[in-house]
């Protein structure tokens, strides 16, 4: 790792001041992506602003039809939350599939969402449920938040404070993990929300998470895996790497989507 200065603010306001919107300064959440990136010298921030001691950023609450999860809430906490399991079991299930136990004990929802890794799990849940990303400045719909591989609507220095999820009528997540990295080769999150069926895919798109509107339209006619048969997702725009070709991933999207619809019941 290159050298950097380290700050440990105790409040959101202090964190904002330490960061100052300077592109060379980085917020540190759980560090499960940022620290390996620094170790590989793929980034060279001058300063890290550690968010771990800011109490107002952690915690889970359910009010009415909304589940709110603070940005610094760890994956293990979401996976183990009785409140989340009751309101949106698919979300607790998704959190239990991220990385491994030690990664889930450190990694945070805010960090995962801000990073927008094209193979991360949480972006599929946000897009599949039509969640809202709350920052220190504004609220951003998931449909507007994810803007391509590792790209989001966040402005320099803007900080995610929490994510709010509407409780769906039903939802499920099915993931085909890479057996070594545990990242999704393809993960499909399906849900029936107030706005109708939603189908979100992670792990496959060259530009990150995306919705499959042809599948959503088909599911409007009835919630059944059979309705997705024959809907081919084009391989254009999908990732092709040593693990799988774009064609293979396109096929997997159909398989995982049908499994997810069946799992949601």
């Amino acid at each position: 790792m290159y050298e950097f200065a380290y700050h440990r603010p105790a409040s959101l306001a202090e964190a904002k001041t330490k960061h100052g919107g300077d592109d060379d300064r980085r917020y540190l959440a759980g560090g499960m992506t940022l620290l390996p990136t620094l170790k590989h010298r793929l980034a060279r921030p001058t300063d890290l602003v550690d968010l771990a001691r800011i109490g107002e950023l952690a915690g889970i609450s359910v009010a009415g039809n909304t589940v709110s999860i603070g940005a610094m809430t760890k994956h293990a906490a979401v996976a183990a939350s009785a409140e989340v399991a009751k309101a949106i079991p698919a979300l607790a299930h998704l959190a239990s599939l991220i990385g491994d136990r030690q990664v889930r004990n450190r990694g945070t929802i805010g960090g995962s969402v801000a990073n927008n890794d094209p193979a991360a799990d949480y972006p599929a849940a946000l897009l599949g449920l039509g969640a809202t990303v709350h920052t220190d400045k504004r609220s951003i719909a998931a449909d507007d938040f994810f803007q391509g591989m590792f790209a989001t609507a966040l402005e320099p220095g803007e900080l995610i404070t929490k994510i709010s999820f509407p409780v769906p009528q039903k939802a499920a997540y099915q993931k085909f993990p890479n057996p070594a990295s545990r990242y999704a080769m393809v993960g499909v999150f399906v849900a029936v929300t107030g706005g109708g069926p939603r189908v979100a895919v992670t792990g496959a798109g060259a530009n990150g998470v995306f919705r499959v509107t042809a599948m959503e339209e088909a599911l409007k006619g009835g919630w059944s895996a059979d309705r997705l048969k024959g809907i081919a997702v084009p391989a254009d725009g999908l990732n092709s790497d040593i693990h799988a070709s774009a064609e293979y991933r396109a096929h997997l999207i159909g398989v995982m989507a049908r499994r997810a619809v069946a799992a949601a019941g």
């Binding site: 950097f4 560090g31 545990r182």
Partner: protein
Amino acid sequence: MKMPVSMTVNGQKVSGEVEPRTLLVTFLRENLRLTGTHVGCDTSQCGACVVHVDGSSVKSCTLLAVQAEGSNVTTIEGLAEGDKLHPMQEAFREHHALQCGFCTPGMVMSAIDLVKTHPQGLSEQEIREGLEGNLCRCTGYHNIVKAIAAAAKVMNAKA
């Protein structure tokens, strides 16, 4: 520029001066000379560096020492009480759950956290899935799984 850091390691208050980029595992091994925690892959995959921070198992190669400021850290050296091995260590010995031993400290630390978070008991499947963050290149895992199942019974009987 160095920063002061202090934490409790295996029940002892410790402090030192480290660069912010110093990893927790480096602090443990080089500053405190607790070399039982190993560095295997150094890319957060193999789990040889697993320690407990405030009761949770974490990979100490992917944590800065300064992030652990004020924390309670337990390493493999902190498990035994004098000559009496922790039930998980005893089970690894009894069931021959190691060959070269390199992954063993991380395996034991992960396994203890796994048992503690499953007080109702663990199936073989749960143990195998619970070890997804720990790699062993010698044993094929069979005896490790056996050892954890045996230790879980002892630990849960005591709890």
